[in-house]
């Protein structure tokens, strides 16, 4: 007491103001049980727990239905019941085998394609949600800021140069390396003083996209005719070359990324407060950022390597979910993975059925529907907050 001459006045004032003064020297227990106001009403619980639960369930069910539907639809129709039956049969849970032709179409053509759509869509949606969280900016998306095209440079380079040093994994590995390099470049160029301005971010994206486009052009210039058509088709974005070995090639990348991403949800929430406040709440910001940049590169590379550049999925899905269920990343990250998978399965189904027997490139289709959404997003933000600074 004697070391603090004015404690008495402090406490007197507290009494005068009708507060109950604590004896100075609280210990952990009193701090933990609350010293300020034990009679205060309890805060309302998190605002959307039921909505996020039902949304998750809805998305999962829709994804399952879309996947089964997509597996049965095409030039060779397989009724939904038979698809389920064949799946159950393979899992030794009853059901019934299809005839030879149906079995081959379902298991060698359709299912690898559906599984690939789920993996690619999930990776893109999840990568979009993570990017937006890391940059604290709703416009960050692997496609918009140039990471997809960066990864594409790696993939195209591997195809054009005929690299096979890692067998099946060569293209994903090259896409990952190039994607990672691009993320780091964008990250270094677009940030200054711990902030990313939207204009800088978008301009960086334009520059990176232009540079990547030039590199891809160079590779095309030096490629022979067979490689040329392979690369051009791949570039438009498509899942038509889906095979089980391809699924296996991206599975590790996609699964690793999707598995670790939710671990960062809480810290990403805190990062929304800004870099310093997040650090004040115990987040090791630089470490978090580097880890997430790696995860994003992993997910984007997985998607780009097998499906080419498919834009706007990572932008559109997290945005819609944020509007529906709030910005909390604990739902947003898994939700965006589910939503991205759903969008891509549906888009792929549309891509191969609307212009039968021809097949639209998937990347063209998502950009066709994604771009108007982007316009709408820009206008909406302008109306609400006067645009992005």
């Amino acid at each position: 007491m004697s070391t603090l001459p004015r404690t008495e006045t402090a406490r007197d004032r507290a009494v005068r103001d009708g507060m109950t003064p604590e004896p100075p020297g609280t210990d952990d227990a009193t701090r933990a049980t609350g010293t300020a106001d034990s009679t205060a009403p309890t805060a309302s619980p998190a605002p959307h727990p039921r909505r996020t639960a039902s949304l998750t369930l809805g998305l999962a069910l829709a994804l399952l239905l879309a996947a089964l539907l997509s597996a049965g639809t095409g030039a060779y129709e397989i009724p939904l019941g038979d698809v389920v039956g064949s799946l159950l049969h393979q899992l030794h849970l009853g059901g019934g085998a299809l005839d030879r032709g149906g079995d081959s179409v379902l298991w060698q053509v359709r299912l690898p394609r559906v599984v690939l759509a789920v993996l690619v869509g999930g990776s893109l949606g999840c990568a979009g949600a993570l990017m937006q969280g890391v940059f604290g900016n709703p416009l960050a998306e692997p496609g918009v800021i140039g990471i997809s095209s960066g990864a594409a440079v790696g993939a195209v380079g591997a195809l054009a140069l005929g690299l096979t040093f890692l067998g099946n994994w060569t293209v994903p590995a090259c896409a990952f390396a190039a994607g990672l390099l691009t993320v780091l470049i964008v990250y270094a160029l677009a940030r200054s003083g711990g902030r990313t301005e939207v204009v800088t971010l978008i301009l960086t994206g334009i520059a990176v996209n232009a540079f990547a486009g030039a590199l891809i052009g160079l590779f095309l210039f030096f490629a022979d005719t067979a490689q040329l058509s392979q690369i051009t088709f791949w570039q438009l974005g498509s899942l038509s070359q889906a095979t089980w070995p391809k699924v296996l090639a991206v599975l590790p990348c996609a699964l690793a990324g999707l598995a670790v991403a939710p671990r960062y949800a809480r810290r990403l929430d805190l990062l929304a407060l800004g870099e310093r406040p997040a650090r004040h709440l115990g987040v090791e910001v630089e470490r978090l950022r580097m880890a997430l940049v790696l995860v994003v590169a992993l997910l984007t590379a997985a998607a780009v390597a097998v499906a080419g550049v498919i834009t706007f999925v990572g932008l559109l899905v997290p945005h819609l979910l944020r509007m529906a269920a709030g910005p909390g990343h604990r739902f947003l990250i898994p939700g965006s993975a589910l939503g991205g998978a759903l969008v891509l399965v549906v888009a792929d189904l549309a891509a191969r059925t609307v212009a039968q027997p021809a097949e639209l490139p998937l990347g063209v289709l998502t950009a066709l529907f994604g771009s108007p959404f982007f316009f709408w997003l820009l206008r909406r933000t302008r109306r609400k907050q006067g645009g992005w600074a």
């Binding site: 004015r6 701090r31 009403p41 998190a46 929430d269 407060l273 115990g282 987040v283 944020r322």
Partner: protein, 277 residues
């Protein structure tokens, strides 16, 4: 799962404080920013159970000193100690259990609701026994800052003063023994200025060390146990406001003639610019 398993690993929880115990200390602290020396040889101690006001003209280094005490800025010379250890030796999660910081302006990238923002203040305690008190701490902080009425609204839809109070609620919910507040009253109306400094006193009475950057010398005189006057990166004076706030010192530091006189009822010093009308 794994995150939860390892959340509490190796973190030292803060012990209780004893009134008058030095909790954060700047020793011969020198801070350089962009090649310019912003603080020079500052000696300052924040003690448990007292409110310390940092005052001084614009650009004197108040916010820099606060950021240095928060372990945001590296010391070019001298050192900052928090809870008996050099600030640089604490990890970010351990520091978060010991000091909370109210930034000068509150920003938010995504439209979280007020309740969600305040609940973010509890993040450092996840995985510790104190996590059980999360809901109570959030509710108490929102009640104290009078933001419970708009708990469900998105932060981005609030006015400047409301945002400032929500940010303060988040800082209070953190329940760290050291509170560092950068201009907590800047955006607030008369009633809420008094409310916020009342909260500071309440926290100090509960054993916390409170350091606040204040521009209003009247508020500092009325609510602070001690005031530190910064001038060009140097501590010009520190002590009880009644002793430190002299017309001579303040006129010199602020380069503006001021008058200091006692309040007719309480005797607390009032500082007014010298005016002829």
């Amino acid at each position: 799962m794994i995150g939860k398993l390892f959340a509490g690993r190796g973190r030292r929880l803060p012990r209780g404080t004893v009134a008058g115990q030095p909790y954060a200390r700047a020793e011969a602290l020198t801070v350089r920013l962009g090649g310019r020396t912003v603080l020079r040889g500052v000696e300052l101690t924040a003690r448990a159970g007292e409110v310390l006001a940092l005052v001084g003209p614009n650009g004197a280094g108040k916010s820099t000193l606060l950021a240095a005490l928060a372990a945001d800025l590296p010391a070019a010379g001298g050192a900052v100690h928090i809870d008996g250890r050099p600030a640089v030796d604490w990890s970010a999660p351990e520091l978060a259990l010991r000091r909370s910081v109210l930034p000068q302006s509150a920003a938010l990238s995504f439209p979280f609701t007020v309740a969600e923002v305040v609940r973010m203040g509890r993040a450092p305690w996840a995985g510790t026994p104190a996590a059980d008190a999360d809901e109570g701490a959030v509710a108490a902080a929102m009640a104290a800052t009078e933001v419970a009425g708009f708990a469900g609204r998105p932060f981005s839809a609030l006015s400047g003063g409301e945002r400032a109070r929500v940010a303060l609620a988040r800082v209070l919910a953190q329940r760290a023994p050291l509170l560092l507040l950068d201009e907590p009253t800047a955006a607030l109306d008369l009633r809420h200025q008094e409310l916020v400094l009342g909260i500071c006193r309440e926290r100090a009475a509960a054993g916390d060390a409170v350091v606040a950057v204040l521009h209003d010398l009247g508020l500092a005189a009325a609510y602070a146990d001690r005031a530190a006057v910064l001038h060009d990166g140097v501590l010009a004076a520190q002590g009880p406001p009644a002793e430190v706030f002299t017309a001579e010192l303040l006129s010199r530091v602020y380069r503006q003639p001021v008058e200091v006189f006692g309040h007719p009822r309480t005797g607390i010093p009032l500082v007014m610019p010298h005016r002829d009308r």
